[in-house]
């Protein structure tokens, strides 16, 4: 009889603690979300695990013999261009109003061509060969190279153009 009472009280204690824990956890998550609405409390943690895993997998699965240099990738290196920054810069100039740009939020425009797979494209704007210097110059002043184009001169500076070009060259046919 005494044993049964102890069991019941332990069960009640656990139930109560569980309810309070759920309540506290909810409060913490809500407080977290409110404190910084732009901060994703879960995504960053998950991507950290993902990065750790790929590092471990790379260590054991990597090819010990150095492969040939990837000449195609090297040809698309943009001088002074930072792809991560470029990805953010697109929003500043409203590029997404006319172009689909994978990885840029809200860039779903259909006025101009989609920029998916841009690294594999032969020509920029149909007039310049697709290589880093040409792409940067085109981004700075499209009408200079194609007088009838609908793409305006957006007031892009050299640094921003290089960053955007670097990002566009991360968009290969394979995604």
């Amino acid at each position: 009889m005494a044993n049964q009472t102890t069991q019941r009280s332990w069960f009640a204690l656990g139930l109560g603690a569980g309810v309070v824990a759920v309540f506290c956890l909810t409060a913490v998550v809500v407080a977290w979300a409110l404190a910084s609405p732009r901060h994703d409390p879960v995504g960053g943690w998950l991507s950290g695990i993902g990065r750790g895993w790929s590092a471990v997998a790379g260590w054991y699965g990597g090819d010990p013999v150095a492969a040939d240099p990837n000449w195609q990738a090297m040809a698309l290196q943009v001088q002074g261009g930072a792809a991560a920054r470029g990805q953010i810069v697109f929003a500043t100039y409203g590029c997404g109003a006319c172009h689909v740009i994978p990885g840029v939020s809200g860039a779903r425009g259909t006025v101009g061509p989609s920029l998916a797979g841009f690294a594999n494209r032969a020509y920029v704007g149909g007039v310049l060969g697709n290589m880093p210097g040409n792409l940067t110059r085109w981004l700075i002043n499209p009408p200079l190279f194609s007088p009838d184009t609908a793409m305006p001169d957006l007031g892009v500076g050299q640094a921003d153009a290089a960053d955007m070009a670097a990002y566009l060259y991360t968009l290969g046919r394979d995604g």
Binding site: R38, I88, A91, A97, G106, V111
Partner: protein, 311 residues
Amino acid sequence: MTPETSLGQFDVQTALTRAGIGSDLTLTLTLAMAVAGAAIFVIVMGLAWWAWRHEVTPRAWWVWSGGVVFPVATLAVLLIGSTITLAAIGRVDRVAVVIEVTGHQYWWDVIYDPDDRALRDANEVVLPQGVPVTFRLKSDDVIHSWWIPSIAGKMDMIPGRVNEITVTATRTGRFRGQCAEFCGLSHPLMAFEVVVVPPQDFAAFLDALKGEARDADTLQLERGRDVFVTAGCPACHVIRGMVRGGRLGPDLTRVGGRASLGAGMWKMNVGNLAGWIADVQDMKPGAQMPSFNTLSGPDLRALAHYLDSLK
């Protein structure tokens, strides 16, 4: 670094901040309710645990106090608190600055001082800090709702009626407002921006708004101005000092000076303007404006640059 979004310049849209008297009162009420609710939850759970552990003989006074007296008292406090809050938020101030806003699918027509100077603008509202402002709210088509979450409560705009709400912004800054009543296909894309400035800046803003549009001073801007007329834009849009037009669309006298395009949705710049003119139905499905992809490339560019220059 905070990521740039496709939205305008404002901060996150939130009601959990005290940038106005209305939002201050509602936030206080919300927090009081949350804390009291949490306390009651913990006490009830504690009592349940205690009752489980001990042999309890039922007593009538427990039932009466916990089941009748306590809930009635709690709800009475809540009723008094929310009634006082509602009365304070809903009071319309007769001597306040008046701004008339008319909702359209899917944009806002704004008239400052409608009974005297009638200064027109659109999709952006400038408010003086610390001064009560009465919004006179109308609708031209369907029911919309005017809501600036960080500053005050919401008020519906009903066709054929004039609703009023007095708000007082207490903090300077940029805030996002949103249509809060489903009004059609692009209802979620019907936002606006609120800029709270010191009272003397507000007076200066109104003086500047009185003027006419900036003139075109380069060949490209002149071409854009001509395209604006020949493409038929004045059928719906006015640019004061340049062309008299219709009132079906927003006044464009200072369109380039606003922080955002498409009723608070996209950053104001040449790129978004060009995309908007060429394919507005893609950016804002169901808007009254047609997509102008009939313009040649150079005409489209010139028009986008011209509109951007109107500050």
